[in-house]
Each structure stands twice: as C-alpha cells, then as structure tokens.
C-alpha cells in the first residue's frame, strides 16, 4: 500500500499509452465505456449482469466489469466469492464443468462470447489461461510449447523453433532451459513450470492472458519472477489475474475488483457478488465500500 503513489503514476502512464487500439480479428470495441472507464481506453471484456450457476447453485451474481486493454486487472476476495468462476467465463472454461450455466452477458470487443455462433475453441485460441497449479504436459519442454502453434497449422521446424524460443524468452525461461528443450517439462521446478505454462500460453499469440492464482503454489522468489514477467508482458497483452494475495494485487495490478460472498436468505447458500471495482491504488487506500476496506486491511475474509 505504500506503493500506491507509484501505482497511480503507472496507471496514468498506461492509459495514456494505450490510445492506439490494436485489435485483431474481431470487431473493434463497440462497447460504450461504462462509468469507470476513462475515455480512449479499449474495453476488451464487458460483463453485464453476469451470473454463473452450477446446477441450481448460484455461484456468483450481478457482475458488471470492464476489463481494459494492456492493463492488469486483479480479482480479489475471500474463498468462494466467485472470482475464479468469473475469470473462467472469459475463455469459456466453465463450459467444461457439467451443469455450469452462464446468465447475463460477456462481451469480448463487443462480441457476445456466449452467442450461439461463437466457437469456444476459437475463443480459447485468442484468450489464454494460466492455471493455479502449473500444468505442463508430461512431454518435452519443446513439445509443450509447440503444441499450440501446431494446432494452428505451423508445421515447418524452423518456424516452430522460432516460436518456441521467442515464447520462452518472453516468459524469461529461455536461458534456464535452452540446453534441455528435449527433456521432460515435469523435471522443471514449480516456478519454472509455471513460467513454461505462461510461455505455452504466449506461444499461440493470444490477446488476453487469464491467470487463476498463478503464484499460489510458488515460493516468494518464483512469485516475484512471475510478477516481474507480468509487468513486462502487459505492454502486449491484457492480463486478468485472480489472486488470494492482496499484496500481489496491490503490487501488480492497475485495477482491482473486490468480490465477497453474501448469504442468500431464502436458500441459506452463499453467492459471490462484486462489491467494488476501482483503480488499484484507490481500492487499497481509499475504497468506496466499507467491506472492501475491511477486507484489504485484514479485518475480515
């Protein structure tokens, strides 16, 4: 929280930088900025009245978020508040869970991600995901990185070599593994595996990288490396990160969304709700909502 001054500067810097939109493939942002969007920034995701159900259990409700390009957006909150569920809506990973159902809208550059004509496979090629537990394939380091590009039709060895090297460099892993690309990725340390997963994600050239508690299984040194890495790559990507670690959110993110759980009086079950979405320095120094303040100062959750 002492860094809030620096954070504020960097927020301004970034929003100034990102006036030039570099949107590929899909339509330009048709979305009109909401109340908390500053003019000029490109909105990548916009959710409206988003609610997610698992069977008849409502995991999260009433989520209205604008995620902006080339920013790092952090989703924080206590366990069970639905932050990972919301994150998984952005690349349709919830589709994989039996009984999961999404209500409301998630727009990606104005396109309804849950529209009937949208192919989730195409969504996931543009929107990458890094998971809580490093999940390298039990194959060689090279094959881990080449898998995505090969799916996209890259066949020439020289091209694949190129993508593998540049992705590993992006993820600050190249120097550590360049001599053992043919060895199993399972032999890497946890921190290296997570950077490999980031590299694997980067290798398919996504526009957005979603990170679901990417550092929760890592030690502080590996965590610091991943955080540095996020700062480096955010010039090219839009990053949304779910984290349990408030200091991490304060250190790395430009904007923070605070979720919590509310007990539904009818069913006595907990549902996640979005409480506050603001610039990170504001969330951590002068939040609008009392519950946010209680959470970030450690008085609940």
């Amino acid at each position: 929280m002492n860094e809030s001054g620096d954070q504020m500067d960097s927020v301004n810097e970034i929003t100034d930088l990102d006036v030039a939109p570099a949107v590929t493939g899909l339509q330009q942002h048709l979305v009109v900025g909401s109340a908390n969007a500053s003019p000029g920034a490109v909105t990548v995701f916009q959710t409206t009245d988003l609610a997610v159900y698992y069977g008849d259990f409502r995991a999260v409700r009433d989520v209205d978020l604008d995620i902006r390009q080339h920013e790092i957006t952090a989703l924080i909150g206590p366990s069970g508040c639905g932050k990972s569920t919301v994150l998984r809506c952005f690349d349709r990973m919830n589709d994989l869970i039996d009984g999961a159902r999404v209500e409301g809208e998630v727009r990606y550059h104005g396109v309804d991600l849950y529209g009937p004509e949208v192919d989730p496979v195409e969504v996931r090629r543009r929107i990458g995901m890094v998971f809580q537990k490093p999940n390298p394939f039990p194959k060689s380091i090279y094959d881990n990185l080449a898998f995505g590009p090969r799916l996209n039709g890259v066949k020439k060895k020289a091209e694949l070599d190129e993508v593998v090297e540049s992705s590993l460099r992006r993820a600050a892993l190249w120097d550590e593994v360049k001599d053992r690309l043919k060895e199993s990725a399972m032999g890497l340390s946890g921190g290296q595996q997570q950077r490999l997963c980031i590299a694997r994600c980067v290798a398919v050239k996504p526009e957005v990288i979603l990170m679901d508690e990417p550092c929760s299984a890592l030690d502080p040194i590996a965590t610091a490396r991943i955080e540095d890495l996020m700062q480096e790559i955010k010039q090219e990507y839009t990053i949304v990160i779910v984290t349990h670690n408030m200091q991490q959110a304060a250190r790395v993110s430009d904007r923070t969304a605070f979720f919590t759980t509310e007990v539904n009086p009818e069913s006595d079950r907990r549902t996640g709700v979005l409480i506050e979405y603001n610039a990170t320095p504001k969330i951590f120094s002068n939040p609008d909502d009392e519950r946010t303040e209680q959470y970030v100062t450690g008085r609940f959750g």
Binding site: M93, R124, F131, P136, F137, P138, G148, L151, V204
Partner: protein, 315 residues
Amino acid sequence: MALSTPASIGGATARSYTEGLTRKGSDVRGRVVEGALISTLAFSLLILLVLLVDLVRRAWPVLSDRPGAFLGGGLNSSDASRAGVWQGMRGTVTLAIIVVLVAVPLGIACAVYLEEYAGRSRFAKWTRINVRNLAGVPSIVYGLLGLAIFVKALDGINGNGRTVIAGGLALSALVLPIVIITASEALRAVPRGIREGALGVGATQWETIRSHVLPSAAPGILTGTMLSLARAAGEAAPVLLVGAITGLLRTGDQGVIDQLSGPFTAMPVVIFAYARQPGDDFREITAAASIVLLVLVLAMNGFAIWLRNRYERKW
C-alpha cells in the same frame, strides 16, 4: 498441569514431562490384533505355497524327462507318454491375439466415450453401472452367448462355427467390461490440468484426447489390457461351450486360414481334458500342463507390472 506452563521448564517440571511421555505398560490388545492379522496372511500364503509345491512335485517327472516333447506334443488323451500341450498353447495365444484385436480397441473406445463425452447424463450413469455388473457375469454365460451368436453366425459363413474365432469373440465379450472399466479408471486418473492446459491453448476436445489424455492414460490402459488378457487366457468354460476340442485333435501344418476355421483347443481346455483321464501318468501330465498355463499367465501379469512401472507418470 505442567503442560499449561511450558515457560517454566526445569527441575520438577522437566521430570513431569518425562513421566508424562513415558510408555505405561504394553499395548496387549494391539499386539494381539497384529498377531492375528499376520497369521491370516501366513495362512493364505501357505495354501498357495502348498498348491504350488504339490503341482511342481507332481509335474516334475514330465517336465524333467521330456520337456521338449511335452511342450511340442499334441493333445492326446489316450497315450500319456505322447501327450503334450503344443496345440493348447497355440490356441491360447491365438485367442489372446483375437482378444487384443477385438476387445481392446472396442473397450478403449467405449471408455473414451463414457469418460470424455457422455458426462453426467443419466444414460452414461446407467451404462457405467451396467458395465460393472457385466464384469461380474459368470464366464459360462459368455460361453452360452458365444454358442448362441458367434458360432451360429460363423456356421452361416463357412459351415463350421466351432472355431478359434468364435472362442476369441466369446472371450472378447467376457473381458470387454474389464477393459472398459480399467480404461475408464486410467482416463479418470489423468489430471484435469492436462485437459485444461490443452483446451486452454485452443485444442478441440478430440485433439486434447488424442494428443494428451490418451497418451497420459496409456500405461494404465495397457496394464488393464494385460490383466484382462491373463483372465481370458485362463478361462475354460466359454471356450469349452464354443466347442474347443478335448479329445484327439489332428492339427498339423495347415495354413493360417485352416487353423482359424478348423477345430481348436486352448490351455485350460487341455488341462480339463487331461484331468478327466484316469491313471497316475495323466495326473503328472495335468500338473505339468497347469504349470505351463501358470507360467503363461504369470508372464502376462509380469509384463503388465513391468509396463506400469516403466511408463508410470508422476504428476
């Protein structure tokens, strides 16, 4: 007590800790239970050991005097000195090959559908329960199935349905549920992260299954396959019902087609045939044939264990 004032460790307090932590008397009941468990284990192993020793002792004259002639000799239930197991071994190996070709691909395909595509639908649940039940159906029932369906169908094709193919198909039906169950378990053991990782970089479901899920599950699937093969190799009832020969079997040097469409026998059937003959010499032959089958099955199980250890993955 002393525990509530840990700050004052010294003198009298330290002594009370020592007393508190010292074992008081011996745990008689625990010892008795442990002893009882060990003796049940010893008893079970003893039965197996006696069986094995008795078998080897009785088989020894045959296996030491004429191992080559025994292994290479044909089915002969009238002259013990010329009886052998060659046709039985060949039949069993042929049956195993048919099972590998039929039951394994079918079973894996069923498991992939049930685990990866069917999800939690009522149909899938119902199917899973019934596959488990099928695995418990007695083998003789599969023999009747083989007789009623496969033999009839092959009768229509070449006039003689009582062939090794019908036997192989009956055994395939027998082990299919086992293959499905073990393959399902192997698929289920593949960590979710592998699937999410592949889907996350834009793989389709089939690309994910083909490139990551199946290779990761392969060791488990292979182990299950070998175990089901061992089961199939040891079954007598279905092959007998389908028409394996128990008497004199004249097969010699015919081609593959003739072997597949002619009469056949298998190791368990050979053992059954020899066991029915009177006389001590046939006792020895029966024991020797049992040892051959045991070694065959043990070799298959050993191969399964070796495969599992070799390819086992740590997540």
